[in-house]
């Protein structure tokens, strides 16, 4: 028998990162153009302010802003609470030094505890939300003081997981990272020069000592991102399991995704007319 060579198409595989790969130089150029257009051209600001947590997301935004606006026009604000780790503060300082942006430190302990002392029963979640909302107040007030625009740092994975405080972390009017999964943030951060110590450390909201994002989720970011990527493209959970994704991991991701749609929207308004805003009366954000 004269056997033909058999060429078999590569199946979609759970472990492949193809869909998460980014062209870092192209993406960097695009995000710099985005920041310039949205901050300077559309809104008329020449400066920006960003909360510097010492984590990879805000570090990446600081690097992008420094490139987009010039480091002298960027203000990184460290906003530690008394339980915040020294590493977080040190890493934020490292970013300010590496980028040349301005850095300020504003303790939130007095402001947060002023309220929290009235609520000794508040659990970790409530305390974390209060801290995030205090930081939001400070960021907006500082931006007013400095004549700048606050820039957000939330990534796509945490937005899809609802892993943020509503109307706090998500409130700045411009966000360059909101459509990038965490693994893509890591890739871009490495490319743009965010120090390794920041890129390689476990992601943490740093609200409770020893807390990590992945510990809270019960799944690692690379695994979650691959699953999210397929779910958002319209693949069913069943198809993902057929592809080799563990059922328990698909369930974790799907549960978080399905239970947090509300966090990605503005408040629900009772529609009472045929001119209801954003239902009938439709004008884009930059109109």
């Amino acid at each position: 028998m004269n056997r033909l060579p058999i060429l078999r198409a590569r199946p979609l595989a759970a472990e492949a990162d193809d869909n998460l790969n980014v062209n870092e130089p192209l993406l960097t150029e695009w995000l710099i153009a985005f920041l310039r257009d949205e901050i300077v051209r559309r809104r008329g600001f020449s400066k920006a302010v960003v909360g510097l947590s010492g984590g990879v997301d805000s570090s990446l935004v600081a690097f992008l802003l420094a490139r987009a606006l010039g480091p002298e026009n960027v203000y990184g604000i460290r906003m530690p609470y008394r339980t915040s780790s020294q590493d977080s503060l040190d890493h934020a300082a490292l970013v300010a030094k590496a980028t040349g942006i301005n850095m300020e430190t504003i303790e939130i302990t007095d402001a947060a505890d002023g309220y929290l002392n009235l609520c000794p029963e508040a659990d970790g979640r409530r305390r974390g939300n209060v801290m995030a909302r205090v930081r939001m107040i400070i960021l907006f007030d500082q931006s007013q003081k400095l004549g700048t625009l606050p820039v957000g740092t939330g990534n796509k994975t945490e937005r899809l997981f609802g892993y943020f405080t509503w109307h706090a972390d998500d409130s700045p009017p411009v966000n360059p990272l909101g459509d990038l999964y965490k693994t893509q943030v890591w890739a871009l951060s490495k490319y743009i020069g965010v120090p390794d110590v920041i890129v390689n450390k476990p992601a943490s909201a740093d609200l409770i000592v020893g807390q990590t994002d992945e510990g809270d989720f019960g799944i690692s970011y690379p695994k979650a991102d691959r699953i999210l990527c397929y779910l958002l493209r319209g693949f069913t959970a069943l198809r993902l399991i057929e592809m080799g994704f563990p059922e328990a991991e698909v369930a974790i991701v799907k549960r978080r995704l399905d239970s947090t749609h509300w966090k990605r929207h503005l408040p629900t308004v009772a529609m009472l007319s045929s001119t209801s805003i954003n239902d009938y009366y439709l004008r884009p954000v930059d109109y």
């Binding site: 193809d18 695009w30 153009a33 949205e38 051209r41 004008r283 884009p284 930059d286």
Partner: protein
């Protein structure tokens, strides 16, 4: 016959028609100073208002004659040369016969002195193409705000027969096929294409255009002149990448995916016949048109076939 073509790849200011018109006036001045040989200026889709207007289409749509009058006025204000004549092709939101459309106007503009000279062409509207395929998926919502055009036509200009397509029109191979069958030798494509997908060498939609546009040129042996919007609108960035492609599918000049620029190219109309002589695909298509028409009629008559 040659056409000296320029493509103006610019960022409009959202909703600011008057300011964008002034910007166009500056471009007329620059062309007169830096590229006076230009005979046709092509500008992107919705270039005088921005693309994502939602209900704002009602505020900013113009009749074709309002737009033409404004273009002619600003042209005459800005150009100095007595014999100035320029064809212009650009996208705009149109109000016509009680409906809104996403349209592209092709017109001839002249200085007042040139207009008075019988040797020069008259200032006039030559054609308005209304977008045939309205994207309404994902980030796009056109069918909600504008009506669909019903025809793809080719029309005569002083440089030969041409056609205009708007953005998604060109994503359907049938549109360029209709234009070529109607006799177009140059297909002007005006577009506002928002960038998405950054995993490859080019932004995902640019990679798609880079296949589609040379495909149109190469299949029908027509010139393709593509004008893409740039700039961000509410986080959505348009990918420019304006280009001029010869009838063999070669990209002769390519604009940035991010920045404003002015492209120039010489369109040699005789290349169309040269290319078709060695690749008679359009003639083959014309020969089979009867059978294709019967096929299409059968399909159209039975849209819900099992």
């Amino acid at each position: 016959m040659k056409i000296e073509v320029a493509v103006g790849q610019i960022k409009p200011r959202k909703g600011e028609y008057v300011s964008n018109l002034r910007r166009l006036g500056e471009m007329f001045e620059q062309i007169e100073a830096d590229a006076p040989e230009t005979q046709v200026l092509v500008l992107p889709e919705t270039v005088l208002t921005g693309y994502f207007l939602e209900g704002g289409v009602r505020d900013l749509a113009l009749t074709r004659s309002q737009l033409f009058d404004d273009l002619l006025r600003i042209y005459r204000e800005c150009v100095q040369r007595a014999d100035a004549v320029l064809d212009i092709c650009l996208g705009f939101y149109e109000l016509g016969e009680g409906k809104y459309y996403n349209s592209a106007l092709y017109a001839t503009l002249t200085s007042e002195i040139a207009e008075a000279d019988s040797d020069h062409p008259r200032a006039s509207i030559l054609h308005v193409h209304r977008k045939f395929f309205l994207p309404t998926y994902g980030v796009f919502d056109e069918k909600r705000f504008v009506s669909r055009g019903r025809t793809v036509e080719a029309f005569p200009t002083r440089f030969g027969t041409v056609a205009v397509l708007i953005c998604e029109d060109a994503w359907h191979s049938i549109s360029a096929t209709l234009a070529a069958l109607r006799g177009a030798q140059v297909v002007y494509v005006v577009s506002a294409s928002p960038g998405r997908d950054f995993g490859g060498t080019h932004v995902g939609n640019v990679a798609r255009w880079n296949v589609l546009l040379p495909g149109i040129a190469d299949e029908h042996n027509v010139w393709v002149v593509y004008a893409g919007l740039v700039g961000f609108e509410g986080g959505k960035g348009f990918t420019g990448s304006s280009q001029v492609i010869d009838p063999w599918g070669n990209v002769l000049v390519l604009g940035s995916a991010i920045d404003e620029c002015l492209l120039q190219a010489t369109v040699e109309m005789e290349d169309v016949a040269t290319a078709r002589a060695s690749s008679p695909l359009l003639a083959d298509l014309e020969a089979a048109l009867g059978d294709i028409t019967m096929e299409l009629e059968q399909i159209a008559r039975n849209p819900h076939r099992a």
